[in-house]
Symmetry: C2
Subunit: 307 residues, 2 copies
Amino acid sequence: MIVALAGGVGGAKLIYGLAACTTPENLTCIVNTADDLEICGLYVSPDLDTIMYTLAGLANPSTGWGIREDTFNALSMLRTYGQETWFALGDRDIATHLLRTQMLRTGKSLTEATQFLAQSLHVQATLLPMSDQRVATLVQTDDGWLDFQDYFVRRRGQDEVRGIRFQGIDEARLSDQAAQALERARLIVLCPSNPIVSIGPILALAGVRGMLKRSAARKVAVSPIIGGQAIRGPAARMLKGLGLEVSAYGVAQLYADFLTGFVLDEVDSAQEGRIRSLELEVLVTDTVMRDDMDRISLARKILRWSG
Amino acid sequence: MIVALAGGVGGAKLIYGLAACTTPENLTCIVNTADDLEICGLYVSPDLDTIMYTLAGLANPSTGWGIREDTFNALSMLRTYGQETWFALGDRDIATHLLRTQMLRTGKSLTEATQFLAQSLHVQATLLPMSDQRVATLVQTDDGWLDFQDYFVRRRGQDEVRGIRFQGIDEARLSDQAAQALERARLIVLCPSNPIVSIGPILALAGVRGMLKRSAARKVAVSPIIGGQAIRGPAARMLKGLGLEVSAYGVAQLYADFLTGFVLDEVDSAQEGRIRSLELEVLVTDTVMRDDMDRISLARKILRWSG
């Protein structure tokens, strides 16, 4: 059993590779939901959607998120009605949000809604939201605390990050299904997702770090920071704003209390010694996933290395 | 002040003409909401939408309902998710339903939601749902009682109609805004809408027939039955199924207790005498509205005739 912890686009790429290299029934993804938001009454779960669309072969290859060849006519009409439309809701995408919202309103859990949606799209791997309770990432900027999507999408991640808070994290708990998957895991992969706001909320749920420490599984992380830059998104700026080292080593430090191995890009091979000093095994390889073959190749190397 | 009572497509056509011939601020439309339905958690109000889109110049000219050049990608994705998709939700149209649903969920009335939507689309006439309480038309067929849209859209109005019931009609009441409009009206026009399921629910609200009887306004109806046929929709089949005469005269009878005048198509001029015997003034003219000019022409004739 393989369990991947993931956020959005970066996580989806590696999960796509893992699903292609293993029996997908043996792959469970525990996905960040602290970026979830409500738009026009629709419950939107961007990370779950990105991973689901990627595994279903529906993802928009040029953005990584959304559905390929989707249209934006509902959004355009919402603009006509004077609504803010900075969050891109595709027309096909709206069907996902409509059904999820309806299931939540009629008493289903986010776990159940996700299972229904993913199975309808013939996704064979198991997708699990980290929690069935609402957690909301807030970003402290010079203009105050902002909702994550306000910071990330509306303001394009341009603010200096002074702090991060996960609202509701003390009341939320890892779902039973996610806890069972972690207990049964032989390999746990922390995807190259933002360590602060994608992997961070999962690790911040009560008991998760303890569970990971106690787990006898191999526990490996792939650095989302390559050559001091994030491949995508605000990870570098966030690490810097929080006073953390913007490097693969900086990421390894965040996970070092429970990790057994770390996957380092070749351009960062000079950091191998420092990371080994954290008592981690290190795989140095090309980790940039430009296309599907890269995804599968990286996944295969990680699986071989992890035995 | 002119008040129009209306259902969907037929009503929208005459209202379009009335709005073009009068100061639209002096025109108030009281619209049937007993066809409203919930689809995927969206509150859809087909008659209000049809009239709103028509007055906003957005209506699809080939169907009469929906928005011109709309796409159906959300619907297609709902089908991928295994949902029934017999009710055509356009992508642009969904924006209307999303906002209406959200306003209702946050405690706004249907009247308030309708006002917001119509004003955002620069509709100058006043659109009012007949009631802020839910009324649902049920149609009795040989397969039992069906929701109106199930009968009309999914089963294409093919069933024999054995009975009609307006669920919730005893608890619902004419909205205050609609009551005030009726009180101030100088002319009340019953549009060529289905007399049973479009005009019927409005007249079935407590006090409405009494208010119409007492009103000193001119009260005229346009026959939706021409040459024994409905221009569109199941009116003829319904009248027949309920044992009523399928003719302009049959329609006039339904309103004769409060009406002052009746607009009859030229092809039905032979019925003029019978309709006059109901103590109604009669205007015989071409009532088929093929295009915008027909709509305006008919509206102008009605307004002149009504003084």
